[in-house]
C-alpha cells in the first residue's frame, strides 16, 4: 500500500501500477478498484485536509500531476470526448518492436511514440465540466477553509520558498485592483484569519492567485458574477457523469494536469496551419479558445472522487449531519440561546425593529426543500420595505449579511444595472458554451436586491427581461436559461432579500415594513454605530454555524398538530373570510416551519404554530398602517 505522500503527490503512479497489474488478468476491473482506493484513502480521518486545495493555493505552487481538491460549481457541461483509454507505444528511437501498453486514463497527453494502428487501442469516453469557484463565496469562507489547510500547503510547494518582499509587493498591487465593494468593510472582520491562521505568510499566499488571474483577464473565464476571481477548471469526469447537474456544488478530488502541451496545441491552431485537415475546421477560433484555454490559466482536473456539498460553510463538519450526532446534539441544544443573541444583534442592525429581525432570521434559514409540480415549497422571499436611504444603509446591511452567510451577492437594482446586466445565462453557439449570468448561483446563495437604488426611467427590452427573470426566480425558484432556439428551465434555490423604500415591484412571499425605533435625527449616528459594534469572531462563527445548521435540519408535522392547524384555519375564516386566504395559510405554514427550525425543533409544536400566527398577525397589522405608502398595490 503506497504511503500517503505517494498517493497525494503521484496518484498517477498508483493508477499505473493498478493498470499494469490488471494486464495479466483481464476483467480485473482495475478502474473501479483505482477509484475505490482513492475514495477509501480520503475517507480516512482528516486525510482530505492533507490534499492541497486549488481554491487556496496558487496554481503555480501546485505540483503537476498531483492530487488536488477544488470546491466549485458546475458552470457548464461540454460535450463528451473520446480519448485513448489504452494505447500502445513503440520506442521511436530504436524502431524495434518493443511494444508497451499504456493507460491513457486521467491524462491529457499521451507518451511518446504512439502506435495509432495498434489493435490494442481502446477508445473510452469522458465528460468535461467547466467549473468555477462557488460564485459569491464570501471572504470569510475562503479564509477559514484555507486556514484549515495550512499543513497541506507545505507538502506540494516544494519549489516554493516564500520571498517576503516580493509577495508583499504583489499584495499591495492586488489591493489596488480590488473593487471597493469587495473589500472587507472594517478591520474587525479580519479577525478570523488571525485567529485561525499562523501569520502573514499564509495570507499573502492566498491572495496571490487573484493578482495572477487578474492579469490574464483578457480571457473571459465566464464567472457568473462580475468581479469574481479565482481559478476556473476543466474537470474531466470518468464515471457516471449523469449524476451531476448544472449548478451543483462539489468538492472535486482529482489529478491536476497543467501540461504545457495543451496550450501549445492551442497556440498552433491559431497560427492557421492547413485548411484541409478535417479536424481543424470543426471548431471556430472562439470555440477553441473556450474549450481549450491555456492550461496555466484553466488547469485540467481529472476527477477521482467528487463530494457533493450540501453547504459550503467550512465551520460545519463536512460529513453528513446524521453521521455526526455529537456535533448535532451539541449545536441543537445551543440553538435557542444563539437565536436570542442573533435576534438582538439583528434588532440592533435593523434599527431596533425586533419583528423585522425575527423575519430576517426566518428568511436566512429558508430553503426550498421540495417541489410539488411547479410549486417550490419552503421558499421565503422577504421584502424589507421602508429602508432608510441615508448613509448607504442598504449597503451596510448587506455587509452584515455577507459576514454571516457562506455565499451571497449584492445586486443593485439601478436602472443602468437592470438594462445592462446579463442576469440569465445564455448559450453562445459560436463558442459553444453557456455564457453565465448573475442568476447562475449555487444553492442557498443569498441574493440581496437593493431596490432603493432604482430611480425613475425607462426599462428597455433587456431590462424588462431581467425584471421578469427576477420575478420568475422569486415566484417559482427557477431560471429560464436562454438557448436561443428554446428556453430551458433550471430549478434553483436562492434566498432573495429585497430591500426597498416602498413595496417592491417584484413579488415576494412576505413583506415587512421596517419601523426604526430611532428618531430620524439620530438615524445617521446610529447607523454608523452599527458597524462599530465589536463582534468577536467566535460570536460571528457561532452565528454562522447557527444559520447553516438550521437550514439542514429535518422537519415534520404530526397528525395532531395538522388537525389543530386545520381547525385554526377554519375558525379564522369563520370570523372573517377576508382575513385569511389560502395564500396566507401557505405563508403561515412556511413561517411555522422556519420558526420551529430556528429554535432547533424538528417538528411543529402547538406553541410554535401559535407563535407563528402571532408574528404574522403583528406583521399584517403593521402592513395595514403602511397600505397607502405607495401606489404599487393592486
Amino acid at each position: 500500500m503506497p504511503s500517503t505522500q505517494d498517493w497525494i503527490n503521484d496518484p498517477l503512479a498508483v493508477v499505473e501500477e493498478m493498470f499494469a497489474a490488471s494486464q495479466n488478468n483481464s476483467n480485473s476491473g482495475w478502474e473501479t478498484k483505482a477509484v475505490e482506493f482513492f475514495q477509501d484513502q480520503l475517507k480516512e480521518r482528516d486525510t482530505h485536509t492533507l490534499v492541497p486545495s486549488l481554491n487556496d493555493v496558487p496554481l503555480h505552487y501546485l505540483k503537476p500531476n498531483s492530487l488536488v481538491k477544488f470546491r466549485c460549481l458546475i458552470q457548464d457541461m461540454f460535450d463528451p470526448e473520446f480519448y485513448m483509454g489504452v494505447y500502445e507505444t513503440v520506442d521511436p528511437s530504436t524502431k524495434t518492436k518493443v511494444r508497451m501498453l499504456r493507460c491513457g486514463k486521467y491524462k491529457d497527453v499521451t507518451e511518446c511514440g504512439v502506435d495509432f494502428n495498434s489493435r490494442n487501442t481502446v477508445t473510452a469516453e469522458r465528460q468535461t465540466f467547466y467549473c468555477v469557484p462557488i460564485p459569491g463565496e464570501n471572504p470569510w469562507v475562503k479564509e477559514i477553509s484555507s486556514s484549515c489547510l495550512t499543513e497541506a500547503r507545505v507538502v506540494p510547494s516544494t519549489s516554493y520558498a516564500p520571498s517576503r518582499q516580493k509577495r508583499s509587493y504583489e499584495e499591495d498591487d492586488d489591493m489596488d485592483t480590488q473593487p471597493q465593494k469587495q473589500r472587507e468593510p472594517h478591520a474587525g472582520m479580519k479577525i478570523p484569519s488571525e485567529h485561525h491562521g499562523n501569520g502573514d505568510c499564509k495570507r499573502q499566499e492566498t491572495e496571490a492567485p487573484s493578482s495572477q488571474t487578474a492579469s490574464a483577464s483578457h480571457l473571459d473565464l465566464n464567472f457568473p458574477l462580475p468581479g469574481e476571481k479565482g481559478p476556473s477548471c476543466l474537470v474531466k469526469v470518468y464515471e457516471d457523469w449523469d449524476r451531476f447537474k448544472l449548478n451543483d456544488t462539489l468538492e472535486v478530488y482529482g489529478i491536476l494536469s497543467v501540461s504545457p502541451a495543451l496550450s501549445a496545441l492551442a497556440d498552433e491552431k491559431d497560427a492557421s496551419s492547413s485548411l484541409l485537415d478535417p479536424a481543424e475546421s470543426m471548431e471556430t477560433a472562439e470555440e477553441q479558445r473556450v474549450h481549450s484555454p491555456p492550461a496555466s490559466l484553466v488547469p485540467r482536473l481529472h476527477m477521482l472522487h467528487a463530494k457533493p456539498l450540501p453547504h459550503n460553510n467550512p465551520l460545519l463538519p463536512s460529513a453528513a449531519l446524521e453521521d455526526n450526532s455529537a456535533f448535532l446534539s451539541s449545536t441543537l441544544s445551543e440553538m435557542a440561546s444563539v437565536r436570542e443573541e442573533i435576534l438582538s444583534y439583528f434588532t440592533h442592525v435593523l434599527l431596533g425593529d425586533a419583528l423585522a429581525a425575527e423575519y430576517l432570521i426566518l428568511h436566512l434559514i429558508s430553503n426550498v426543500y421540495s417541489r410539488r409540480d411547479v410549486l417550490p415549497l419552503g421558499k421565503f422571499t422577504l421584502n424589507l420595505s421602508g429602508c432608510p436611504t441615508v448613509a448607504s444603509y442598504t449597503e451596510r446591511f448587506y455587509q452584515i449579511i455577507q459576514q454571516l452567510v457562506p455565499s451571497s451577492h449584492y445586486l443593485a437594482m439601478s436602472l443602468q444595472n437592470m438594462n445592462q446586466m446579463r442576469l440569465v445565462p445564455k448559450k453562445d453557439y459560436v463558442a459553444n458554451r453557456l455564457v453565465s449570468g448573475a442568476l447562475q448561483l449555487a444553492r442557498n446563495t443569498s441574493l440581496f436586491l437593493d431596490e432603493t437604488q432604482l430611480e425613475q426611467g425607462q426599462l428597455d427590452t433587456t431590462g424588462v427581461r431581467n425584471v421578469t427573470a427576477l420575478g420568475n426566480l422569486i415566484s417559482w425558484q427557477k431560471v429560464d436559461y436562454d438557448f436561443n432556439y428554446h428556453q430551458m428551465e433550471f430549478p434553483c434555490n436562492i434566498n432573495v432579500l429585497i430591500a426597498s423604500e416602498g413595496r417592491s415591484l417584484l413579488p415576494s412571499d412576505c413583506q415587512i415594513h421596517l419601523q426604526p425605533q430611532v428618531a430620524p435625527s439620530h438615524l445617521e449616528e446610529s447607523l454608523s454605530s452599527i458597524h462599530m459594534h465589536p463582534q468577536a469572531s467566535s460570536q460571528l462563527n457561532k452565528f454562522r454555524i447557527y444559520l447553516s445548521m438550521a437550514r439542514l435540519l429535518d422537519y415534520s408535522i404530526s397528525d395532531e398538530v395538522t388537525k389543530s392547524v386545520e381547525d385554526d384555519f377554519v375558525d379564522m375564516r369563520k370570523d372573517d373570510p377576508q382575513s385569511i386566504s389560502a395564500e396566507d395559510l401557505h405563508r403561515m405554514l412556511v413561517v411555522a416551519r422556519l420558526l420551529s427550525l430556528s429554535l432547533g425543533q424538528t417538528s411543529l409544536s402547538r406553541d410554535s404554530w401559535l407563535r407563528a400566527k402571532h408574528i404574522e398577525m403583528l406583521r399584517r397589522s403593521r402592513m395595514e398602517q403602511h397600505k397607502c405608502v405607495n401606489g404599487n398595490e393592486p
Binding site: 470526448e81 485513448m84 481502446v122 477508445t123 421578469t468 389560502a582
Partner: protein, 881 residues
C-alpha cells in the same frame, strides 16, 4: 479489445487509399500490391508521407497506380491470384461477369460521406462450410473484406434480391405515396429514378431488417464497406433494367431509419464507424466548404500530369515527376482538381431528450455533396415553417424522429493532430458524424403522421395503458383531478382547462370560403388576486410542450406577434416570431391580461378567432399561423371582485375580446366552512406529505402528457346525428331563455364553443364520435362558466349580452327608459332653449321613483344628444331645433 470497430487507430490503416468511389471501373491495378504498399508507408500520422517509394514491402508495385483515380477507361482486370492463401480484392474489383454496359457510361460520384472508402483486402476464411457461399460464382472460397465479415458477392446478391422482392403492403410512408404497395417497392423507386433522373435511392433500414436480418446487421456494423456494395448492386440492377436511361452520375444508396437510433447523449465509442440515426435540432451550419477530393498536378518541365487522391484531408504532393524524373517540378492546377461540397452542421440535442439539470450536447455533422444546405439552423426567415413545425411535433409526443432533423450517419473519431515538434499527442479524439441522409420531420407533416411514427411515439404498452385509462367511466374526472394537484378544488375550471388541452377537431372550410374553423378553446380566468391563477397557468405551461408563458405587464405587441430585425451576420432582414406564433398548436398562457396595453390586446383579436397573424412590416408582408389556444388570467380592476358589477365592469376588458373566449371562469373564494377545512387539509398535507405519498394519489404527469398527446394526434371526433340534434336543441334553448325577457342569451359563437367543447370531451374519451353525453357535459360546463361570468348582477339572470355588447340587456333597457323620461321632462318644461344641468338632474330625480345616478343621467343626455335633440355644453343643456 479486439473488435476493430472500436479501434479507430486500427481502422486508419484502411482509409489511406484510392478512389473513394464505389465505382466499378477501376479495377486496374492489382489491389493486392496497392494495399500492402500503403499499409506500411503510412504507419503513423506523419503529415506528409514523403513518397510511396519508401515502401519496402511491395517492391513490385508500380508506384503510381494508387494515385490514379476512378474515371478512367476501364482496363481489363488483372487476374486475381487465386492461389495465394490471402486473396485481396476490393468491392469494385469483384464485379466480373455482370452486365455493365450502362454502368460504364455513367460517371460514378465520390462518396465523401463514407470517408475515403477503404479498399480493404478480402480475407479468405477457408470456410467452405458456409452454404451461402456456394451460390457465388467463384465458389469454394469465402472472401470477406478485411476486418469485417462482409462477403461482397453475397452481400450484393442479397441486396439485389431485397430490391427485387421486397414489398411493404402496409406502408403508409409519404415517400411511397402513389406507389403500388403490392409490387416490389424499390423496383418502383428505381423506375422513378429512371424517369426523374435523381440518382438517389433512399432505403429504409427497417425494410432491410425485415427482409434479411443478417444483411441489416452488416449494414449497421460495416457501413463503409456495405454501402458501396449496395451502390454497386443497385447500379447493376438499374442499368440492367433501364439500359437506356441516362443519369448524371451513378445511383447512390442512402439508408435511413437505422434501428440503432441514438440519443446524442448515449453515443459512445462503440458506435464509431457504425451506421446510426441520431436526431436533434440544427443550431448552426457553416458556409459551403469546397473540399479537394483529387489534386491535379502538372509537371512544369515536361507537362506530364498526374492526379493525387486526398488522404485524410491531405494531398501528398508528388516530389518526383515520373516522366522526366525532375524533382519538385510538379505544380497543382486548381481548376482541374476535383472538389466536393462539404458543410459543417452543428446539431444539438433536443430539449425533451435531456435529463433535467443538464445542458444539451452538440455534435458536429458533415454534410457532403447534395446534402449540403438541406438543413438550416432554425431557418430564420421561414421560422414558422421549420421551427414552428418542429415544435409542433413535440406536442404530439416525444418521438425520436420528432426533431427538425434526423440524420443517419457514420460516427467517426479522428485523433487530434500530432504536433510535429512534439512526440506527445493530445489523447483526445475529435468526433463527427458524416451525414448520409437527412430527414426533416416537418416535411413529413405534409401528409400527417405515418404509421411508423405512431409506433415510435408510444410503445404498445403505453398505448395499452392509455386505452385502458380511456375505457374507465370516470376518466374525465380522473384526468381533471390530475391536473395541477397542488391547486385545490376549482373542479370546473380544471375541467375547462382539460378540454382546452385536448381541443376540438380541426375543420377546413376553406373551399366554401370560410377558411379554417377555430378548433382551439380559449379560456379566461378572472378573480381575486391570490387564488392561484398564476399557478394554474404555470402548470399548464409546464405541461404542454409548446406552451408559452407571458405576462401582460411585460409583453408588448411585438413580443406577442413578430418583429423584423436585421441579422447581425448577414445584414438581412429577418422575422423573429413572438409568443403567439411560437405557441402555434400549443397554448399561450397570458398572465395579468388586464394589465396589457390596448395596443397589445388588439393583436389578439385576429389570433383568437382567425388563428392567424398578419404582419406588414419593413417590406415583409405575411400571414403567420397562430393556431394557439389562449389561457389568460385577469385581475379585477378594483383588486377585489365586486359582485355587484358585471364581468366587463370588473375587469374592464373590451367585450369584443371577451366574446372570443369560450369559457370565462371566475375564481372566487367560496367562503364556506367545509370547503375551508378541506382546503386547509390539502395545504397542510402539501407541506408534510412526502413526495411518494402524493404521487400515489394522483395520476403521473407523464401519463397525462402522453394521454393528451395521443388524443390530440389520433382522435378526431365527428359529430354524430344524435349529438348534432342535441346541440341544436341546446342552442335553441339558450336563445329561448333570453328571448322571453327581451334579451339574447346566445350567439352563433356560443354554438361554436359548444361544438368545440363537445368534441374535446369526446377526445377525452378517445371516442371518434361526439355523442350526446359529450354535448351534455359541454352544455353543463358552458352554463357553469356563463353562470359565473355572465350573470347580470341586477337581475341574477344569465345574460350573454354582457359579454357580447358589454352591457346587460336590463341596463340597456333602463338607459332607454331614463332617456325617454328625460325627454318628457324637457318637453313638459315647454319652450326653454337652455337649462341648467344640475337643475335638470334634480328635477329628474324628483320625478323618477328609482334612483338616478349621475352616470345614468349623463348617459341619457348622451342618448338624446345622439338623437340631435339637444347638446350639452359645460353646465348648460341646450335644445336643438
Amino acid at each position: 479489445m479486439s473488435s476493430p470497430t472500436s479501434t479507430p487507430g486500427g481502422r486508419k490503416r484502411g482509409r489511406n487509399t484510392n478512389p473513394p468511389t464505389p465505382s466499378s471501373e477501376d479495377p486496374t491495378s492489382p489491389p493486392s500490391q496497392r494495399r500492402r504498399g500503403q499499409d506500411s508507408s503510412t504507419g503513423d500520422l506523419m503529415p506528409m508521407p514523403t513518397s510511396p517509394a519508401t515502401d519496402m514491402l511491395s517492391p513490385a508495385a508500380p508506384q503510381d497506380t494508387s494515385l490514379f483515380s476512378s474515371p478512367r477507361p476501364s482496363v481489363q482486370p488483372n487476374e486475381v491470384d487465386m492461389s495465394s492463401p490471402l486473396m485481396y480484392g476490393t468491392p469494385s474489383s469483384r464485379v466480373e461477369g455482370t452486365p455493365r454496359s450502362g454502368v460504364r457510361g455513367t460517371p460514378a460520384r465520390q462518396r465523401p460521406d463514407l470517408g475515403s472508402v477503404r479498399k480493404a483486402p478480402q480475407v479468405d476464411l477457408h470456410s467452405d462450410t458456409d452454404g451461402a457461399v456456394a451460390s457465388e460464382p467463384n465458389a469454394g472460397q469465402r472472401l470477406v473484406i478485411w476486418g469485417t465479415d462482409v462477403n461482397v458477392g453475397t452481400c450484393k446478391e442479397k441486396f439485389q434480391r431485397f430490391l427485387q422482392r421486397f414489398t411493404d403492403p402496409n406502408s403508409t410512408e409519404d415517400e411511397n405515396a402513389g406507389l403500388d404497395l403490392n409490387e416490389p417497392l424499390y423496383m418502383q423507386k428505381l423506375e422513378e429514378i429512371s424517369v426523374v433522373g435523381d440518382p438517389v435511392l433512399n432505403v429504409n433500414c427497417r425494410h432491410v431488417q425485415s427482409f434479411d436480418a443478417e444483411l441489416y446487421r452488416q449494414l449497421i456494423c460495416y457501413p463503409q464497406e456495405v454501402i458501396p456494395t449496395f451502390d454497386m448492386a443497385v447500379n447493376e440492377l438499374f442499368f440492367e433494367r433501364f439500359p437506356d436511361s441516362i443519369l448524371e452520375y451513378q445511383i447512390q444508396v442512402r439508408p435511413y431509419n437505422a434501428l440503432k437510433t441514438r440519443n446524442m447523449r448515449s453515443l459512445n465509442p462503440e458506435d464509431i464507424d457504425q451506421l446510426i440515426t441520431i436526431s436533434g435540432m440544427v443550431i448552426r451550419t457553416s458556409q459551403l466548404i469546397p473540399e479537394m477530393q483529387e489534386g491535379f498536378f502538372q509537371c512544369q518541365v515536361c507537362a506530364y500530369s498526374t492526379r493525387v487522391e486526398v488522404d485524410r484531408g491531405r494531398i501528398a504532393e508528388p516530389a518526383v515527376c515520373r516522366n522526366c524524373n525532375n524533382t519538385h517540378s510538379l505544380a497543382l492546377v486548381h481548376n482541374r482538381s476535383v472538389f466536393s461540397d462539404k458543410q459543417m452542421i452543428k446539431v444539438q440535442e433536443s430539449p425533451e431528450d435531456m435529463p433535467a439539470g443538464q445542458t444539451p450536447h452538440t455534435t458536429v455533422v458533415y454534410a457532403h455533396n447534395d446534402l449540403v444546405d438541406k438543413v438550416q439552423p432554425g431557418d430564420r426567415v421561414n421560422i414558422t415553417v421549420v421551427s414552428a413545425e418542429y415544435f409542433l411535433k413535440l406536442v404530439l409526443g416525444t418521438h425520436p424522429n420528432s426533431l427538425s432533423t434526423v440524420c443517419v450517419g457514420i460516427y467517426r473519431a479522428v485523433p487530434m493532430r500530432v504536433n510535429p515538434r512534439q512526440n506527445n499527442v493530445k489523447s483526445v479524439y475529435k468526433t463527427h458524424i458524416d451525414a448520409i441522409h437527412f430527414r426533416k420531420t416537418d416535411e413529413k407533416r405534409l401528409h400527417g403522421l405515418d404509421e411508423e411514427a405512431e409506433q415510435k411515439l408510444f410503445t404498445e404498452d403505453r398505448v395499452q395503458t392509455l386505452k385502458e385509462l380511456a375505457a374507465k367511466p370516470d376518466v374525465y374526472e380522473r384526468l381533471s383531478s390530475a391536473l395541477a394537484p397542488s391547486i385545490y378544488e376549482h373542479e370546473d375550471i380544471k375541467k375547462g382547462i382539460l378540454l382546452q388541452l385536448f381541443g376540438g377537431t380541426r375543420k377546413d372550410f376553406s373551399q366554401t370560403g370560410r377558411g379554417n374553423f377555430r378548433a382551439e378553446v380559449n379560456i379566461l380566468l378572472c378573480g381575486d388576486p391570490g387564488t392561484s391563477k398564476s399557478q394554474l397557468l404555470q402548470y399548464v405551461y409546464n405541461l404542454v410542450p409548446r406552451g408559452q408563458y407571458t405576462s401582460g405587464k411585460g409583453s408588448s405587441a411585438v413580443g406577442l406577434t413578430a418583429y423584423v430585425m436585421k441579422d447581425p451576420e448577414t445584414r438581412q432582414l429577418v422575422l423573429q416570431t413572438g409568443a403567439l406564433v411560437l405557441s402555434d398548436n400549443g397554448i399561450c398562457c397570458i398572465d395579468e391580461f388586464d394589465k396589457m396595453s390596448d395596443n397589445t390586446r388588439s393583436v389578439l383579436h385576429e389570433v383568437m378567432e382567425q388563428q392567424t397573424l398578419s404582419i406588414a412590416k419593413a417590406g415583409i408582408i405575411c400571414q403567420l399561423n397562430a393556431r394557439t389556444a389562449v389561457l389568460a388570467a385577469a385581475n379585477p380592476v378594483e383588486s377585489q371582485w365586486n359582485p355587484k358589477k358585471t364581468t366587463i365592469e370588473n375587469i374592464q376588458l373590451p367585450h369584443t375580446l371577451l366574446s372570443r373566449f369560450d369559457l370565462i371562469f371566475l375564481m372566487l373564494d367560496p367562503q364556506d366552512e367545509a370547503y375551508d377545512r378541506r382546503l386547509a387539509h390539502h395545504l397542510v398535507s402539501l407541506y408534510y406529505q412526502s413526495e411518494e405519498q402524493m404521487e400515489e394519489e394522483f395520476l403521473d404527469m407523464a401519463v397525462l402528457k402522453d394521454y393528451i398527446a395521443y388524443a390530440r394526434t389520433y382522435i378526431s371526433p365527428r359529430l354524430s346525428e344524435e349529438a348534432s340534434q342535441a346541440l341544436i336543441e341546446a342552442y335553441v334553448d339558450m336563445r329561448k331563455i333570453g328571448s322571453g325577457r327581451g334579451m339574447v342569451s346566445a350567439y352563433p359563437r356560443q354554438l361554436e364553443s359548444l361544438i368545440r367543447l363537445a368534441e374535446a370531451h369526446a377526445k377525452v374519451r378517445f371516442s371518434e364520435k361526439v355523442e350526446s353525453i359529450d354535448v351534455e357535459e359541454a352544455k353543463r360546463l358552458h352554463r357553469e362558466a356563463l353562470k359565473q361570468s355572465a350573470t347580470d348582477p341586477r337581475t341574477g339572470f344569465v345574460d350573454i349580452s354582457i359579454l357580447t355588447t358589454g352591457m346587460s340587456a336590463t341596463a340597456r333597457k333602463r338607459k332607454e327608459e331614463v332617456a325617454q323620461a328625460l325627454k318628457k321632462l324637457i318637453q313638459a318644461k315647454g319652450k326653454t332653449p337652455a337649462m341648467k344641468y344640475q337643475q335638470l338632474l334634480d328635477d329628474l330625480r324628483g320625478q323618477s321613483e328609482t334612483a338616478i345616478t349621475k352616470e345614468l343621467f349623463d348617459e341619457a343626455l348622451r342618448a338624446l344628444a345622439d338623437e340631435d335633440y339637444l347638446t350639452v355644453t359645460g353646465k348648460t343643456v341646450r335644445l336643438l331645433a
